[in-house]
């Protein structure tokens, strides 16, 4: 039990002190039992503020510390370090969140804000007195890294790490590495060839002695903690032996079964396929959902024709166990499916396509060999309308609230390429809400596109309807919000600039790793400004569009950032794991097995000891959720730092009637 608690109240440069009377609060803190000293200061998190805490700890021989300031989400680690530097256990700190939970929301009621601040400080002091030291367990740091997702972000992070000498396992869900970048043809604002940029990087990854690629593989399980993760990756069965296949494509030519091309998003591909000519590894994969040999048991054409004898219908998926010290999630994005919203008739009118489909058409190696043709009659459209913010900046349940950040530039890039290269005599209209050309060289690009004669109409189209003359043309109805004029723009093809969604893999991987996501489903960063590549779990980092919509330069920069953070972590030989985990009091445990049944991570095992059946917690597997403790009928199972007496002390003090 702590009996000398120091209370340190932060003004936050006015953010708190403007609304809460600091002197009153300090005086009040001093009236609390076992509080010999209470101080307030303009910035407690500053060096001077921390020095003040250290001085008072020494002067009053304090054994517990309360800091009343901003949310512990920001500075709990800072103040824990402060305590540690004085020799106190870092877990002897309790925080009262008097900024986010008090001065900010109650800025209109200073009296009530002061009263609540007193309650919060009283609660924190009561809690502080009950706090117990928690030590750290030291383990040897595993220096290998798992990178999940081999798009441009995953590739960049892997190369940075591998160049620095770290062993990298690069896991990719799809048949080829590369992600979305190879699909986009050209990149803004320089209009250089995306494939020419990414392909050498893909080759570099494949050739790197420190990188092992696991393609057509998915993350299935993850246990352990920072420094010692144990992961299970499922290498799915391609039904083609990767070592034998030479990527000649003979099988694709002869395969009789076709299905929608999920790589190009237009046209069809064969059941046995190599997604694109520069695919890596350049090996064929059999799509078991449409392969006749698999679904009907008869065909076998690919096996007969394969000159390398690589086709193996009996191949099974393989579970690969890996031990790594850190993980980078770079699972990327997918284009929002405009049929979710359904308002513009995507899927109903053949001549409405998405920007990604247009990009695939422009690609000389793509499904139309670079020809821009509208789906209804394969004719070249001369009048094209692009509609921005399809699904973005839309707070309806079917929409996405956020700005997808890249669609304005994608539309401008495509308008530019159409006018200059593909269909020089075309008329391009872009209907937009705002053009966001924020990156380096982007605004200049926007100007150049306008100079080409691309027409921009500020307004979100109300509807798109088909003409009834059999032409399959479309009429886009839009109000120009500058001129207040209603326009009906007739076009031969409409291109939707769709929102950016987290990839399906992003959601799955977040679940397996137990890392938090935001309301858009993207990986949530630990701190939006100060720790933008850290996730909610120590030792797991995020890079690229898995964290939120971003363009290629930002994704690459963030990937290098995540790689650097990983290297900083792995530069230490020892992984320190905080033991704020569940703990069994063996004397009180009656061996009822309820905790074992409750634990979602299988961290508890029941052991028959001479003194009876007892629960045992694995510190490596325990995530510290405390569900076992909440279900324990005897009170033997406790979560360190949130023991019943610690929580109840705070509950009682917050209510304050006793």
């Amino acid at each position: 039990m702590g009996d000398k608690v120091g209370v340190f109240i932060c003004h936050c440069g006015g953010n708190i002190s403007k609304y809460i009377n600091m002197e009153e609060l300090t005086k009040y803190a001093l009236t609390l039992e076992n509080v010999p000293v209470a101080e307030n200061y303009i910035f407690m998190c500053s060096e001077a503020g921390q020095d003040l805490i250290k001085d008072k700890i020494a002067e009053y021989n304090l054994d517990r510390v309360v800091v009343a300031s901003c949310s512990p989400k920001f500075h709990e680690p800072t103040f824990r370090r402060t305590l540690q530097e004085t020799g106190l256990n870092p877990y002897y700190l309790a925080m009262a969140n008097i900024r986010e939970h008090c001065s900010f929301p109650h800025s209109d009621e200073p009296d009530k804000a002061l009263q609540k601040a007193k309650d919060l400080v009283r609660g924190a002091v009561a809690r502080a007195k009950t706090l117990e030291p928690i030590e750290k367990k030291k383990q040897i740091m595993n220096k290998d890294v798992l990178v999940v997702g081999a798009g441009i972000a995953g590739i960049q992070a892997s190369l940075d790490l591998a160049d620095a000498g770290f062993k990298v396992y690069l896991v990719e869900k799809d048949a080829s590495i590369g992600g979305n970048m190879p699909k986009v043809l050209k990149t803004f604002p320089t209009d250089d060839c995306a494939m020419c940029t990414v392909s050498p990087k893909m080759n570099e990854v494949a050739a790197h002695k420190n990188i092992e690629i696991l393609s057509y593989a998915e993350l299935r399980e993850c246990n352990g903690s920072m420094g010692n993760f144990e992961v299970v990756v499922e290498k799915k069965a391609r039904l083609v032996d990767e070592r034998k296949c030479v990527g000649c494509g003979d099988c694709m030519a002869k395969c009789p079964s076709k299905t929608a091309d999920d790589y190009n998003q237009i046209g069809q591909r064969k059941a046995i396929y190599i997604p694109f000519p520069n695919a890596l590894p350049k090996v064929a994969t059999i799509d078991t959902s449409v392969c006749l040999q698999i679904t009907k048991g008869k065909c076998g054409v690919c096996k007969k024709i394969c000159p390398a004898d690589a086709v193996d219908y009996e191949q099974k998926s393989q579970m690969v166990k890996l031990n790594v010290g850190a993980i980078i999630v770079a699972t990327g994005y997918k284009e929002y499916d405009p049929s979710i919203k359904g308002n513009y008739g995507y899927g109903r009118y053949p001549n409405i396509i998405t920007q990604m489909q247009l990009a695939r058409m422009m690609d000389p190696n793509g499904p139309t060999e670079g020809k821009i043709i509208r789906p209804s009659d394969n004719k070249e459209p001369k009048r094209i309308v692009m509609v921005q913010c399809m699904g973005s900046r839309d707070d309806k349940p079917t929409g996405r609230k956020y700005c997808s950040r890249v669609c304005c530039m994608i539309a401008l890039k495509h308008a530019n390429l159409l006018k200059r290269d593909c269909i020089k005599d075309s008329q391009i209209d872009i209907c937009y809400m705002d053009i966001r050309a924020f990156g380096k060289g982007y605004e200049e690009y926007y100007q150049r596109v306008q100079d080409l004669g691309v027409r921009l109409t500020r307004g979100r189209p109300g509807e798109i309807i088909g003409t009834d003359d059999g032409s399959n043309n479309l009429i886009v109805r839009v109000e120009d919000t500058f001129t207040k004029e209603f326009k009906e723009i007739e076009s031969e093809m409409v291109v939707l600039s769709c929102a950016t969604d987290p990839s399906d893999g992003t959601k799955e991987v977040a679940k397996v790793l137990g890392i938090a996501t935001d309301d858009g489903g993207f990986i949530k960063e630990f701190h939006p400004k100060l720790r933008p590549v850290d996730t909610s779990v120590e030792g797991i980092f995020v890079a690229g569009a898995a964290q939120g919509p971003k363009d290629i330069p930002d994704a690459v920069a963030q990937a290098s950032g995540a790689a650097a953070r990983t290297m900083a972590l792995l530069s230490s030989d020892i992984a320190e794991i905080s033991l704020d985990k569940a703990l069994v009091n063996k004397e009180e445990c009656k061996g009822c097995d309820i905790c074992e049944k409750t634990c979602p991570f299988d961290a508890i095992t029941m052991v028959d000891l001479p003194e009876g059946r007892k629960a045992v917690v694995s510190e490596a597997l325990c995530h510290g959720c405390g569900m076992c403790a909440a279900n324990c009928p005897t009170g033997a199972m406790q979560l360190r730092h949130y023991k019943d007496n610690q929580v109840l002390a705070e509950v009682g003090a917050l209510i304050g009637s006793h």
Binding site: N97, E100, F104, E109, C625, G626, I655, H658
Partner: protein
């Protein structure tokens, strides 16, 4: 309406509602000042003991907040919290204390509006119910 100011304890999950409350604060969203927040690692850590102890100490209402379904950081803590709250609500109804002084609300870290709505609604509900009936008798 009386000038009764209910005292409400909100148990917050470290990963969702606590963050939602932080964001609500940062956005200077106003909500009643009589709501006290207590941070737990997961809503699944909410113990029937804590809720009963809070009522026994005289609190007028208890709000348990956790992650949206399928979003729990620890897989199913929110479901467990909901089950406990439902169970305890039945008990509190049966003993005449009133299960409607206890409420569970799910929200994600990105939903500060949901947090503000939850605590505002809770305060209104408890104002209508009046003070803690046992505390009142004491």
């Amino acid at each position: 309406m009386s000038d009764f100011e209910p005292k409400i304890i909100t148990f917050c999950c470290n990963y969702c509602s606590y963050v939602a409350a932080d964001t609500a604060g940062t956005r200077k969203e106003h909500y009643p000042a009589n709501v006290e927040l207590l941070r737990l690692p997961c809503s699944g850590k909410v113990d029937i003991l804590y809720i009963l102890e809070a009522f026994n100490k005289g609190v007028d209402g208890v709000l348990v907040t956790g992650c949206r379904k399928e979003q729990c950081h620890f897989m199913e803590g929110n479901y467990k919290a909901e089950a406990k709250v439902m169970f305890l609500k039945d008990i509190l109804d049966e003993i005449g204390f009133g299960g409607n002084r206890l409420h569970v609300q799910f929200m994600s870290a990105g939903e500060p509006d949901e947090f503000v709505r939850a605590v505002t609604d809770m305060t209104a509900r408890i104002k209508e119910l009046g003070p803690n009936p046992v505390e009142n008798k004491k």
